[in-house]
């Protein structure tokens, strides 16, 4: 999702990922390197929604709006907004939750400096990353592995994911945690995860071309 500074009042105009390409945000966007898997997956989703050339135009414009060389992790982007280096960043919301409930007071201050926007709500929905699991084809303990995966999708484990790690449940029978609920509900991009993997190499090419 998109994190924006609470101090800047003009940022309500941002409704979609595509809006980040607007030249009015020049020098106001922070991001981690494009090659990071989160950004690569996001570009893959944009390629899927449009075409590669459009995605590249978007990425190039986004790079043109960057306030500083892409660097750091998701928390570092929120921190940069707090520091006044930039006003806008794309982050995974669970890092925001981690900061908001951190036992370090300064990290809670970083989180308090930003508002969150669920992008593309009137269109395809917000891009979603997953925590997934699988069993190796040659595994010798398939049954145990399956039982473990079943545990991970059980109510108990899913509640833990939500409460501790601020992740949304994949098990439809498990309610969204209170912490997450407080940020509101949102429409998620239903693009299949396999499609992201398929488009990842093309996304990486886009990243290389625009120098993100």
């Amino acid at each position: 999702m998109i994190a924006v500074s609470k101090n800047a009042k003009d940022l309500t105009a941002i409704k979609r990922y595509e809006d980040l390409a607007d030249p009015r945000w020049k020098g106001r966007v922070c991001s981690r390197p494009g090659s990071h898997v989160y950004n690569r997956a996001l570009i893959a989703s944009i390629i899927s929604a449009a075409v590669s050339a459009e995605a590249q135009k978007w990425a190039a414009a986004l790079v043109g709006n960057l306030a500083r060389r892409p660097q750091g992790n998701d928390r570092a982007q929120v921190k940069a907004i707090y520091e006044g280096v930039c006003d806008i960043a794309i982050i995974n919301n669970y890092y925001f939750g981690k900061l908001k409930t951190s036992d370090k007071p300064e990290q809670r201050e970083w989180a308090n400096a930003v508002n969150l926007i669920f992008p593309n709500q009137s269109g395809r929905g917000t891009h979603v990353n997953i925590s997934g699991g699988g069993v190796a084809k040659h595994s010798k303990s398939k049954e145990e592995a399956q039982r473990f995966l079943e545990f991970l999708t059980s109510k108990k484990a899913q509640d833990l994911y939500g409460a501790i790690n601020f992740e949304y449940p994949v098990n439809a029978g498990v309610p969204v945690s209170d912490g997450l609920k407080s940020w509101g509900t949102f429409k998620e991009d239903k693009m299949p995860i396999a499609k992201i993997a398929e488009l990842a190499p093309e996304a990486q090419k886009v990243i290389d071309r625009v120098g993100w």
Binding site: R32, P33, S35, V37, R40, R68, R69, P70, Q71, G72, K79, E83, G84, V85, E106, A200, P201, A203, Q204, K205, I207, D208, R209, G211
Partner: protein
Amino acid sequence: MVEASSSRKLATDVIGNFSSTVAQLNAWVVLCWVIVLLLLVPIAAVVIAAFGTSSGLWLHLSQTVLPRYLWNTLALMAGVSIVALGFGVTTAWAVTRYDFPARRTFELMLLLPAAVPAYLIAYTYTDFLEYAGPVQGGLRDLFGWRNARDYWFPEIRSLGGAWLVMGAVLYPYVFMMARAAFLLTPASYYETAMVSGRNVFWGVAIPLARPAIVAGLALVLMEVLSDFGTVEYFAIETLTLGIFNVWLGMNSLATAAQLSLVAFIFVAALLIVEQKARLQRRYADKS
């Protein structure tokens, strides 16, 4: 009779000794080969993987990121060289030529940074020097600046930051080699230089220690080439980072392996430099 038996005994002893020497030799040779092969396996695996098809990725890489990867790698090597030489040679000179309190302790302590991985130092310096760290925080309090837009402060997560961090951790290779070379240079050379009014450091010490210093520097640069942690944290797109992007981002093990071979060329060049330096060293010792 007695003579014959003793000479036979001698003969069997000699043969016995010889064959046991051969057996011992064989055991060592075999052991060496086993170790060598174990060390070569991963390199061979990279070479074999490099034979796979790169599906046209080289064209893409050469048109986009490859020049950047090469330039950043070379720039990183150049900058770390300057820092490592500066730290390593000057400290080695100080502890070998001058006497001062706690000199012995310094001699040992100066080696310690080699024990710390560069990326840990990178994390530490970043925490210390970044906006939220004590240095900038202190400056803001002192001058009443409110946020990052009120003042300029060098960005630690940068090429320059990497020079400093990696140089500070890797200089002991240069220090160690330079120190040994300075100690080996006969004091009479220094005295002759002083008597004849020549600069002892530039005129004698450095030319004679140069092969050792170059050998130390070659080791430093091999470490720089293989570093992933620091360049990843500082987001400096070097060859090593590129290998990961191609491998995991483009799912092309073959192209990643081919890119690794480019890094190998750098290492091979450094090996040649190091070997040449050592040959010169022998020459310097003889003279």
